[in-house]
């Protein structure tokens, strides 16, 4: 299988097919309809049909060089007549050559080509796909040229959603074409179910091909896992002057739109912005929007989403409130963040436009007030920022992606879903705090209302500032804030013995690797150098342990840290070998990987016996690390000598 994935987002992948000399996916394939002049029987048959000249643009590749696009660059996809049209039946097929009207190795003069395995019509139309695949699996495939790969068509039927498909024999078929996908575009619910069905059946190292889809569907279909497209729809439109097209549809007529959108899509995956591009295109059609909205609910897109990546995360419409990064952050705060045991007070603060919050003007003012009033006791007070769409952001996690990277349009009005999310997160958060701990809410407007509502619902008393406060920076409001802080002064214990930065790092470690990991990874006697804004280095017994990177808000591990984490079997990757040579591990050599591993996660590499070999950064999610047979898997940061 010569397909490797370089980067992925959601189910979308930026890959390389046909090895180094090959082409990047997502990309276009050029369907070529079989037209064999040497076979006498076929020839006489096709001679009758004068469609050949009409078909020229499809059959001869020279004609498709238009709009300054060199179509010779793209791989061909050869489509052969069905077995029945060739005068054969499935049960008569005994060997591979039987299925094709010609020797497919003939096409090896092309740069790269896919050959669609001919269909047996009754088994497909009468929904016995399982039988068809079983027969295919039994057929011995001869040695094929490197530039030739096989493709299988699995068109949509309502039955395919229900039936269990037998696994494809590995290494035979490299692409699966989704035959009927173009008629499903206006039925997003079925389309999603169809894609889920195919994805759950197919290993990740197979590519997916969607024939005849309009260019505006490309970003979202890439996001949902499609790798190959074609220009059939442009053929359709250019041949149909009668078609009344609106402005958006108009651009789909041109091949240029296809190459531009594909270019954009590839760049988007590279810069971890595919989701944003998807959203931009989703706004052009209702069915696209539906597709995006339901995909968040039904597809585990979070698995393929990198733990950090792009420098910014824009949340501009309601589909972004459920995007994987946001959902993951909320879920991790809910399940992995616990206020330190010495916390004796919580202050809720509003979010700021400048990120991380502590660098903003408003938060500077707030911390000044807190410092003045609580003095050294302030280290025993937890600060929590209320925001949308991330919900509850503890001060310790303000650097962690996407807390320091998100941006939203601020209008002062919240949608129902944003309110609901914040309420949910608050309920979770409050359940982790002892009832005796005083709560202070220095927020106004909607945040104040929600905070009040949730506290009332859970019988928690909270100090809130007066409702009609117009500005939180006004002297009156800050005075009120000081008064509240003075009031809770007695309830708060003195400065804890544990240094502030240590608690900060432990909270991030918990958030990054799982609950309780902070305690293990960063023992009490470490030495801490540096500042949050510039990065923190941690040493254990004079050996480098880990680094905090302010750009991403995550920790990077050293081998020493790896040893500490080894017993907790998080982010483990098992390497097939004794010693690592070089600085990269390819996915072929990976036997096992924690399915919880995400792209850019810190991973520990062990050998088969569980001995630590190295620490590194994962290039792919855990599932793909195991399933892929080619391409980079892990980049080594530090290895055992």
């Amino acid at each position: 299988m010569t397909f490797e994935i370089e980067k992925c987002e959601g189910w979308g992948r930026l890959g390389l097919a046909f090895g180094k000399e090959g082409f990047i996916t997502p990309n276009i394939v050029i369907p070529c309809f079989f037209n064999n002049n040497s076979s006498s029987q076929q020839n006489s048959l096709l001679d009758l049909l004068k469609f050949q000249e009409n078909n020229a643009s499809l059959t001869s590749r020279n004609n498709v060089i238009m709009d300054n696009i060199d179509f010779d660059y793209f791989p061909s996809c050869f489509i052969y007549p069905s077995l029945q049209m060739q005068g054969k039946s499935l049960k008569e097929v005994t060997c591979f050559e039987d299925m094709f009207p010609v020797d497919i190795n003939q096409s090896s003069n092309l740069k790269a080509s896919y050959h669609l395995i001919p269909w047996d019509l009754p088994t497909i139309y009468l929904n016995r796909y399982d039988k068809y695949i079983q027969t295919l699996n039994k057929i011995e495939v001869p040695e094929l040229d490197d530039k030739i790969k096989l493709m299988l068509n699995v068109p949509f039927t309502p039955e395919i959603l229900e039936t269990e498909l037998p696994p494809l024999r590995p290494s035979v078929i490299s692409v699966v074409s989704l035959g009927d996908i173009s008629s499903l575009l206006t039925h997003p619910k079925l389309l999603i179910r169809y894609l889920i069905r195919i994805k759950s059946w197919l290993p990740s190292n197979k590519m997916l091909y969607a024939p005849a889809v309009p260019s505006s569907y490309i970003p979202i279909l890439v996001y949902l896992g499609i790798d190959l497209f074609d220009l059939l729809i442009t053929e359709m439109y250019s041949a149909n002057p009668d078609q009344q097209l609106d402005l958006i549809l108009e651009q789909q007529k041109s091949r240029k739109a296809f190459s531009q959108i594909l270019d954009l899509t590839r760049k988007a995956i590279e810069t971890y912005k595919l989701r944003d591009l998807t959203r931009i295109f989703a706004n052009s059609y209702p069915s696209l929007k539906t597709l995006l909205r339901i995909s968040d609910k039904q597809i585990p897109l979070e698995e393929g989403t990198p733990i950090y990546g792009s420098r910014t995360l824009y949340c501009t419409d309601e589909t972004d409130f459920t995007r994987p990064e946001v959902t993951r952050f909320r879920e991790r705060v809910q399940t992995r963040y616990f206020p330190p045991s010495h916390t004796t007070g919580i202050i809720f603060l509003p979010c700021s436009a400048k990120k991380p919050y502590s660098k903003s003007k408003s938060h500077n003012i707030f911390s000044k007030v807190i410092r003045q009033n609580l003095k050294k006791k302030r280290f025993s007070v937890g600060e929590v920022i209320l925001t949308s769409p991330l919900g509850v952001v503890p001060r310790e996690l303000e650097y962690s992606f996407p807390a320091a990277h998100y941006d939203i349009p601020v209008i002062g009005e919240w949608s129902q879903i944003e309110k609901k999310h914040l309420e949910e997160d608050l309920v979770y958060f409050l359940s982790k705090i002892k009832p005796s701990i005083p709560l202070v809410g220095y927020v106004k407007g909607i945040e104040r209302d929600i905070l009040k509502k949730v506290c009332k619902l859970h019988n928690r008393s909270i100090y809130l500032i007066t409702q009609d406060t117009t500005s939180l920076y006004s002297k009156e409001a800050l005075k009120e804030f000081s008064a509240i802080l003075q009031e809770i002064w007695l309830n708060i214990s003195y400065k804890p013995k544990i240094p502030n930065r240590l608690m900060f790092l432990r909270a991030i470690a918990d958030f990054q690797f799982g609950k309780g990991i902070g305690q293990v990874l960063i023992p009490d006697h470490v030495k801490i150098y540096g500042r949050k804004e510039l990065g923190i280095r941690v040493q254990l017994n004079n050996k480098h342990l880990l680094t905090f990177r302010p750009e991403t808000g995550y920790l990077t591990l050293s081998l020493t840290a790896g040893k500490l984490l080894l017993d907790y079997s998080c982010n483990l990757v098992t390497f097939d070998g004794q010693k690592i040579i070089g600085s990269t591990i390819f996915s072929k050599a990976i036997i096992m990987a924690d399915p919880e591993i995400r792209q850019n996660d810190e991973v520990l590499i062990t050998d088969r016996n569980g001995e630590l070999l190295a620490v590194g950064i994962a290039h792919l999610p855990g599932k793909l690390l195991v399933e892929m047979k080619r391409g980079k898997g892990v980049t080594i940061r530090q290895k055992v000598n």
Partner: protein, 365 residues
């Protein structure tokens, strides 16, 4: 006769057929009907009689995947022999014999199948026709196996009818054995058809070959290629008349089932026109018939709905060697849509999107 069949297809067709037939009410009246049309040269009487019904359709193979004619036959009831004979008599007595009569007698099965048309009934019918003056030709239908196995009976009928010409219609549908077996479920092979043609032709009987356009499972382009190839092959085999029948959707059949699932569409009339045009050009002297059943209706061959009648008339014109416009797109804009369908055979991916072009836009559905 060895009956080749695709087990998966046969059992599906069988189940659908049985399901439909079992729902037939007990007081069902087998249908009997006749039409009379006058052409320039002759009067054509078409008579459909409800005999037992096609044995192949009642077999455990379920019959052909598109044929629902058995639905109107007697099946499990007594054949209304008396009524049939009376009706034939009536139809014959009503014509004034100023023009010669072409009598088409169809029983939705095989005329030479003893189980379908009992020998007694057959001789009675032949007797009636023989006695009528002015009949030029009698047309009946049969599956090839009865032509091969029942040569004696055919010979007898032929002799009895003299000098009335006998024409036997045989449904070949496709000259590709795989399509016959895996799409039509016909239960015989091209070789059987070839033999039956040879035998009947030596008896001096005219052979009419039925070619159905667009079997289930095939795409529009594939169906066109197959129909043209079949027509050429049947001419080579020695058929006298080619009858093109665009597929229509009948109850209790596989195509009906597929049509409901949106997996089958009857052919476009443009396709029919294309096929007829090609064959007319290639064989100017062969007699071609094309009278689409349910033409223009949703269950029969149709175009966009606006031009259906016009294009069916064009088919007629071509058959009668009259000139038709060169640029077909001036007749109706849906011609361009059809061209897209055959130019970019995206249907080849088994996509249903474009087959619906004549009614919908793929994106503005």
């Amino acid at each position: 006769m060895p009956q080749e069949r695709n087990q998966l297809l046969a059992s599906t067709v069988f189940n659908l057929r049985q399901e439909y037939l079992s729902k037939r009410p007990p007081d069902f009246q087998p249908k009997l009907w006749s039409t009379k049309t006058e052409t320039r040269k002759s009067i054509v009487i078409t008579m459909v009689i409800p005999t037992r019904g096609c044995s192949w359709a009642f077999s455990d193979s379920g019959g052909c995947s598109v044929c629902g004619y058995v639905n109107d036959s007697s099946y499990d009831q007594v054949i209304p022999t008396q009524k049939i004979l009376e009706e034939i008599n009536l139809s014959l007595s009503q014509v004034d014999s100023s023009k010669p009569i072409e009598y088409k007698l169809y029983n939705s099965g095989s005329f030479f199948d003893e189980n379908d048309v009992p020998q007694r009934l057959r001789s009675q019918i032949i007797d009636l026709i023989r006695k009528t003056n002015g009949i030029l030709k009698l047309s009946v239908e049969s599956r090839p196996e009865y032509l091969i196995n029942n040569q004696k009976a055919i010979k007898k009928v032929k002799e009895m009818l003299e000098p009335i010409k006998l024409e036997i219609g045989v449904g070949i549908e496709s000259s590709n054995n795989a399509i016959i077996r895996d799409c039509w479920n016909k239960g015989f092979s091209v070789e059987d058809y070839q033999r039956s043609v040879q035998i009947t032709r030596t008896l001096g009987i005219r052979i009419k070959s039925y070619i159905l356009i667009k079997p289930p499972f095939l795409t529009e382009v594939e169906a066109i290629i197959d129909a043209i190839k079949t027509a050429c092959d049947t001419v080579e085999f020695g058929t006298d008349v080619i009858s093109f029948n665009p597929c229509n959707i009948q109850k209790g059949t596989l195509v009906n089932h597929l049509h409901k699932q949106d997996r089958y569409q009857p052919p476009w009339i443009w396709s029919v026109l294309y096929i007829v045009k090609t064959i007319r050009k290639k064989y100017p002297n062969v007699e071609i018939i094309c009278e689409p059943t349910a033409g223009g209706k949703h269950r029969g061959t149709h175009n966009c709905g606006k031009c259906d009648k016009t294009v069916i008339d064009l088919v007629d014109k071509i058959i009668n060697k009259k000139k038709i416009p060169d640029d077909l797109s001036t007749i109706c804009s849906c011609f361009l849509k059809w061209r897209i369908l055959v130019k970019t055979p995206i249907e080849i991916f088994r996509s249903r999107n474009l087959s619906r072009l004549r009614r919908f836009d793929p994106l503005n559905e």
